[in-house]
Amino acid sequence: MTGPDLPTTSDELLVAALARGDKQALAVLYHRHSTFVHRVAWRTLGDGEAARDVTQSVFEGLIDGARHFRPQARFTTWLHRVVVNRCLHHLERAEHRLREGGHDDAALERRPAPEAASPERLLAGKELGAAIERALADLPPRQRLAIVLADVEGLDQRGLAAALETSEGAVESLLVRARQRLRATLGALRAEWRRP
């Protein structure tokens, strides 16, 4: 089936149906929200396989926890928080593996080749997208999530604070540090960005 079959049913009501094993409720929720989840995970983790894993994990959490959902809560805020937590968890595990001296060969191979970052290549307009993605990957995890949710997904300060489980003041601080760091990484490209 496709999501639009039940376009007017609220997320919260669908979660109640899902709690009883309703396959269609799962399908509607999935079609409604999986693109967002997958896109945030993809932008944050920079890796399709990891994004897929996080997407699956987020919806598994929904299935397993649907029985405990309280209808006063807003589904999307819950969803944003779980996406943030699962992405952070993924990044932390990956870093832990590297710190422990393990070889995360797959992750290393998925990273852009260092030579691709040469200024000559970056100055070409067609490389801008890749350069932005690389600069994003250079941000600390919470800064990266804050930027993805703010600039790619368009969440406002209140939504960001709820998703990141922090205050609006802390969100402002995270965002400005992220923008300063992105800017420093991409400084060589300023002229290119300002192209009319």
């Binding site: 039940l6 007017t8 049913t9 919260e12 009501l13 109640a16 149906a17 709690a19 009883r20 094993g21 309703d22 396959k23 799962l26 399908a27 999935y30 999986s34 997958h38 399709g48 994004a51 897929r52 699956q56 919806f59 959490g61 299935i63 309280r70 209808p71 006063q72 807003r74 805020t77 819950w78 779980v82 937590n85 699962r86 952070l88 993924h90 997208g129 932005i132 993605e133 600390p140 995890p141 919470r142 703010a150 600039d151 790619v152 406002d156 300060q157 709820a162 489980e165 922090t166 205050s167 003041g169 969100v171 402002e172 601080s173 965002l175 400005v176 923008r179 300023r190 960005w193 300002r194």
Partner: protein
């Protein structure tokens, strides 16, 4: 290396460059209060470095928004999720304490099948202008799902890094 002026011009209102960059960044994801907006505008009128930061921040946001969207997740994800459902759809699970839940369960249990159950649910249970929709209350949220949001990952409530 671009110089960053340490402090505001003597004639400008009281906003430092440090405060200005935070306000510039915040303004990209929501309106500022009128006093903060006015102070920022006054600062931008006198500070080329902060104007440059504002232009770059807006350009970076535009560049991020212009990235081609990733492909959707593969269908195999939904297949795997369906296999995880707690029991076959159609199995009656009625929660007497929850009338809505009970009716959904009965509709499904009544042999109407999943589609019919949902349709009935729609007809009978169309929610009135959303008593379920939020309130935005963080405390309620925290209680929404007994902690499944947190269980898979670290929670770092501080605005660190």
């Amino acid at each position: 290396m671009s110089p960053i002026p340490a402090f505001r011009d003597a004639a400008a209102p009281s906003m430092t460059c440090d405060d200005a960059v935070v306000a510039i960044s915040a303004a990209l994801s929501g309106p500022l209060t009128s006093t903060r907006r006015a102070a920022l505008d006054a600062h931008l009128g006198t500070c080329a470095a902060c104007v440059a930061f504002a232009e770059d921040a807006a350009a970076m946001r535009a560049a991020l928004q212009a990235l081609p969207p990733p492909p959707p997740p593969p269908d195999a994800v939904l297949d795997a999720l369906e296999a995880r459902l707690p029991r076959a759809a159609g199995a009656p699970v009625v929660h007497p304490s929850l009338p809505v839940a009970g009716r959904w369960g009965l509709a499904i249990a009544g042999g109407l099948g999943v589609a019919a159950g949902l349709l009935l649910g729609l007809l009978v249970l169309r929610p009135p202008a959303s008593p379920m929709e939020d309130t935005g209350d963080a405390a309620l949220l925290a209680l929404a799902f007994g902690g499944i949001g947190a269980e898979g990952g670290p929670r770092r409530p501080g605005g660190d890094e």
